[in-house]
Symmetry: C2
Subunit: 220 residues, 2 copies
DNA sequence: TGTACATCAGTGAACGCGCGTTCACTGATGTAC
DNA sequence: TGTACATCAGTGAACGCGCGTTCACTGATGTAC
């Protein structure tokens, strides 16, 4: 929602009543927590309104007060998580931003991946939430929108000091880099044989040399 | 199954009776086709034994004759697809294999990605099958095993002419490269804004410069 | 070439269960005077 | 400070439906003599 993710949400995912009183906010949060726990224990197929409600210690109609269906619950979890990832990216960029070298952050991809992974892990079933979004038709679009927003933000930031329009192929490259980051993090987490830190460092390296090669080709 | 994927299949995924007569083989194949069609139309959540059977024009117990549950159906689809991807990789490698330069194939990653994408697309719901495997707990392990097998095969092929043991960090790099390829192909297919060929070419480029940088660092 | 038999392939009907969703309702919290 | 009322939060009970799975069975195909 930070970078404008909220714009085109299909109506099936829109929340119904917003919780107002303290008690309601707690209920609302417990619904989200419960859904995440179920997701982490049994995967997306075990998530149902019945099971969420039972675990949250409420009855099913109470859930329907705030969410129109289970996808709205998953969407809310996903949107929050992607927002946090956005924030990580923004503060990472600002940390390594430099007047002299607009591409300085590219030498610090490892730090971005590391921090993004950390914030994803803070959320129960964080990676499962993201993978579920990729596989559930209604949630694919919101996921894409968030990726677009992130890519555009970075492009703007880079283009600003350059004082030019962003070449379209730069956008493609940044999008690809983000996708690589995502899959490297997933691999680091899902593959027990893979050393996590090594995976992220190598992914960072890969992005760096790729970008350097691109810059070299530009100044021909 | 080409590269030894079949070894550690959890018993829940093992097929029951093998179809023997012509008629039975047709039924078996229709079950798989139907499952793929449902997958492509409504995603993994719409796949059920009831719906598969109805679409295949048989009754549910007929399905249970060959498969213990719906995951076995999805597993069979996934295993077949990954086998075909393996084959593509093997013949790609052989095509660009060179006595003079053991790393010649790395300059032709685009061709690998292109052909792998093509063979995946030949299978109805090909990418959805792969994404489903990532998200369904029972199917995660078989997926990983297949990736291991592919990585090991490539490593052996590269190590052979070098006449040495494969350094562990080379394995990590190859694994990462495969993961990047996978996600680049998925992005190329799922993101309507992304030009498919460009995405694959860039991903190929990324792998190439990454590997060249690695080789340069080795000869220090 | 015909028939009896064995094996393979698929059916009809039924089961209990959890699913999503809605209804009219009771109970809790906040507020106006 | 108390009470009457409005709004917010959550309940109990019920619904129809599709799910996975199994049973005893009929029908189709292959084979031995």
């Amino acid at each position: 929602m930070t970078l404008g993710t909220e714009q085109n949400i299909p109506f099936e995912l829109l929340e119904k009543t917003r919780p107002q009183q303290q008690r309601a906010i707690q209920t609302y949060e417990r619904i989200l927590e419960s859904a995440a726990e179920i997701l982490s224990e049994g995967g997306v197929e075990k998530v149902s309104t019945n099971v969420i409600a039972e675990r949250a210690g409420i009855t099913v109609p109470a859930l329907y007060r705030y969410f129109p269906n289970k996808y709205a619950v998953l969407y809310t979890l996903g949107a929050r998580l992607m927002d946090r990832q956005n924030e990580v990216m923004v503060s990472w960029f600002q940390q390594y931003e430099s007047d002299h070298d607009p591409f300085k952050p590219i030498h610090h991809m490892y730090e971005l991946f590391r921090d993004t992974l950390a914030v994803t892990r803070e959320q129960t079933a964080g990676f499962t939430i993201l993978k579920s979004m990729r596989v559930l038709p209604v949630l694919q679009e919101p996921r894409l929108q968030s990726h677009y927003a992130m890519t555009d933000w970075i492009c703007d930031k880079i283009a600003q000091p350059l004082g030019e329009d962003i070449p379209e192929d730069m956008k493609v490259r940044i999008r690809l880099i983000m996708e690589l980051g995502t899959s490297a993090m997933e691999m680091a987490v899902d593959d027990p044989k893979m050393d996590e830190d090594t995976a992220l460092r190598e992914a960072g390296k890969m992005v760096e040399v790729y970008w350097m090669d691109y810059l070299a080709s530009l100044s021909i």
